[in-house]
């Protein structure tokens, strides 16, 4: 917990190597940290700062700008109900209220068992499937109240684990490039700068 594991440091090095300037890897590395611990710890930010030659304040400045990065633990499943305009027109507000009742928590909170964090979020780009939601950033379209309750039951029963990896894992597939195939020419001719 906290600092990146040796495997993740190795992964971090690979990611950093793909960018002409290391700082570009900051957001991807924060994702790696979040995948490791389910949220982004202070220790991880410190460690990332070390890896990139930044201050922890700089890392926090970037980290805190982006909503996906959580700086305190969340449930295993982050259930984001879209409240964008298209979903709102098709009943997302009622769906959110319904979800709050079903889960017994208000939007923004985590169920007592730590399983589900419910959120009402802005448009998730599935407007043609409104009302929609995402569980750990995996989409579920045309959600009815009944459908929502079924989904919750399945999450509780653990029957959809393969579909919804735990919070933090946004991508189960990583770009892999054999070193020989990577040209690295993107870094050619870049002037040195002092202030990143």
């Amino acid at each position: 917990m906290g600092r990146l594991s040796p495997q993740n440091v190795e992964l971090a090095r690979q990611i950093i190597g793909r960018y002409p300037r290391p700082r570009s890897a900051l957001i991807p590395l924060l994702h790696v940290a979040q995948e490791q611990d389910g949220w982004v710890t202070d220790e991880a930010m410190d460690h990332i700062a070390e890896l990139l030659g930044l201050t922890a304040a700089e890392v926090l400045g970037t980290c805190s700008f982006y909503e996906m990065f959580r700086r305190e633990p969340v449930g295993k499943y982050l259930v984001n109900i879209c409240n964008g305009i298209s979903c709102m027109l098709l009943g997302s507000e009622a769906l959110i209220e319904h979800a709050e009742e079903t889960l017994g928590v208000k939007a923004g909170a985590t169920t007592d068992d730590g399983l589900i964090t419910l959120q009402a979020v802005e448009c998730i780009a599935a407007c043609d499937g409104a009302p929609c939601l995402a569980v750990n950033y995996r989409y579920v379209n045309d959600v009815s109240h009944v459908g929502f309750d079924e989904l919750v039951a399945e999450l509780r029963a653990g029957s959809r684990e393969s579909e919804f990896p735990p919070h933090g894992t946004t991508t189960r597939v990583r770009q892999h490039v054999e070193p020989a195939a990577w040209s690295g020419k993107g870094a050619d001719g870049l002037p040195k700068v002092w202030i990143l």
Binding site: E67, G129, H176
Partner: protein, 435 residues
């Protein structure tokens, strides 16, 4: 009535089950455009794209792609950035393009990089799109392994790297200069243009092309079929085909790729192969052509999906068309949109950071029952301090257009539905009750 439906270009593989795999892609003509482009040479590709009249498909002003490329300051390292941050309410077209045809996007961006002499492509994907990331990661891995990306592409000696980069949740990062900041590992706060036009001072202050996912996805087809073929569709600035996400109160929401200027909004909403009518046979109240833009109404139903016609109607042809029927509360709809922009303000400039959250508070008050009559003037005057003159196209006291975007729904709804606002004030809240 609409012209006969054209076979889609960018959505062509949506019907192919394995279209997202390298195998499926190659089987359906994949990477032939890139091969041809390399054979043709950069100038010829550029000329072909110019001939196609392809404009930016991000759903804003629609800047001609070839013209953007020629703005690139020469003699420096340059980059191509794929804008896959799609987050505008109502827009849901780039996500399926990335999920269902990732290789097409990769091929398109390689063609762009080849044509502009860039050695590296950054594929910036919205952080919340897990499947798109996975599909693109797999596609890139396969493309590299098969020699379609990286060193010595297809044995031609061309070297172009493509790196998959993912965001982390911030609408403003869709704005190209904020995207660049984000790509550099910073807070996604826009840079002022001028001087920071990406083509001059973009990623790492080097010349950079930022193009939308759909824009680039068109390139393999254009190279293979020729620019003229593309330009044969549509008229004037509205050439080729374009994707639209239709959502809201229609019977058949979905993504449709249509020939530009070939059909009207009425066609789109009612034709059985498109929207198939407004739900429950209700009347239209208003429709959005982009959450950032002025609303359109009944009287605009017969204008075409044509950049110029929509502009003449006082709005802009975005890619997300949201239909509101007459059961919709205009105040609540506007509040929803203002809330979105207030929430997504990056906070860099004062009018947007302070002004939009103020507007949101006023809207909230009106909708929930503590509005006052002079709030309407206040809304407009505060809006005027963000976008002076409340005109279209908007002026701005802000750095980027997000500030004015947050005012657009207020202008549209207050002007059109003033009575509805007043009713809210009078009745102490939304007459339609809780939603």
């Amino acid at each position: 009535m609409a012209k006969a439906m054209r076979p889609p270009i960018v959505m062509a593989r949506f019907g192919v089950d394995d279209g997202h795999t390298l195998e499926g892609y190659l089987r359906t003509g994949g990477y032939e455009g890139l091969r041809k482009a390399i054979d043709m040479g950069p100038e010829a590709v550029h000329a072909e794209v110019e001939a196609s009249g392809l404009t930016g498909r991000s759903g804003g002003a629609g800047f001609p792609a070839a013209r953007k490329w020629s703005l690139l300051a020469p003699g420096k390292p340059s980059y191509v950035v794929v804008n896959g941050d799609e987050s505008e309410p109502g827009f849901a077209k780039d996500r399926p393009l990335m999920e269902r045809d990732p290789h097409q996007l990769i091929e398109g961006s390689l063609i762009c990089a080849f044509a502009t002499g860039s050695a590296q492509v950054f594929l910036y994907v919205r952080g919340e799109m897990a499947l798109a990331q996975e599909r693109l990661a797999q596609a890139l891995t396969d493309a590299y392994a098969a020699g379609y990306a990286g060193t010595n592409i297809m044995g031609t000696g061309v070297d172009i790297d493509v790196v998959l980069h993912w965001g982390a949740g911030a609408y403003i990062v869709g704005e190209e200069t904020a995207l660049i900041e984000s790509l550099e590992g910073h807070r996604g706060m826009p840079r002022l243009k001028p001087p920071f036009f990406p083509a001059v001072k973009g990623v790492y202050m080097q010349p950079t092309i930022v193009n939308n996912v759909e824009t680039l996805s068109n390139l393999p087809w254009i190279v293979l079929n020729g620019g003229a073929e593309f330009a044969a569709m549509g008229v004037n600035r509205s050439l080729g085909m374009r994707m639209f996400t239709l959502s809201g109160h229609v019977n058949r929401p979905g993504n449709f790729e249509v020939e530009l200027a070939s059909m009207t909004f009425r066609d789109l909403f009612t034709a059985p192969e498109y929207g198939a009518g407004i739900r429950d046979g209700n009347q239209l109240k208003a429709f959005l052509v982009g959450a950032s833009f002025p609303w359109l109404f009944e009287e605009h139903l017969d204008i075409k999906l044509d950049i110029d016609e929509v502009q003449q109607a006082g709005s802009m042809l975005g890619s997300g068309i949201v239909v509101m029927d007459d059961t919709t509360c205009a105040v609540r709809a506007a509040w929803n949109l203002v809330r979105f922009f207030a929430h997504e303000s990056c906070g860099k400039c004062t009018p947007c950071r302070e002004g939009l959250s103020w507007l949101e508070k006023i809207m909230h008050r009106i909708e929930t029952g503590t509005g006052r009559e002079d709030d309407l003037d206040l809304l407009l005057d505060v809006g005027d301090n963000i976008t002076p003159g409340l005109a279209w196209p908007p002026k701005q006291t802000t750095i980027c257009p997000l500030g004015p975007s947050g005012v657009a729904p207020i202008i549209s709804s207050v002007q059109r539905f003033r009575d509805e606002y007043l009713l809210h004030v009078k009745e102490g809240g939304c007459p339609r009750g809780r939603h």
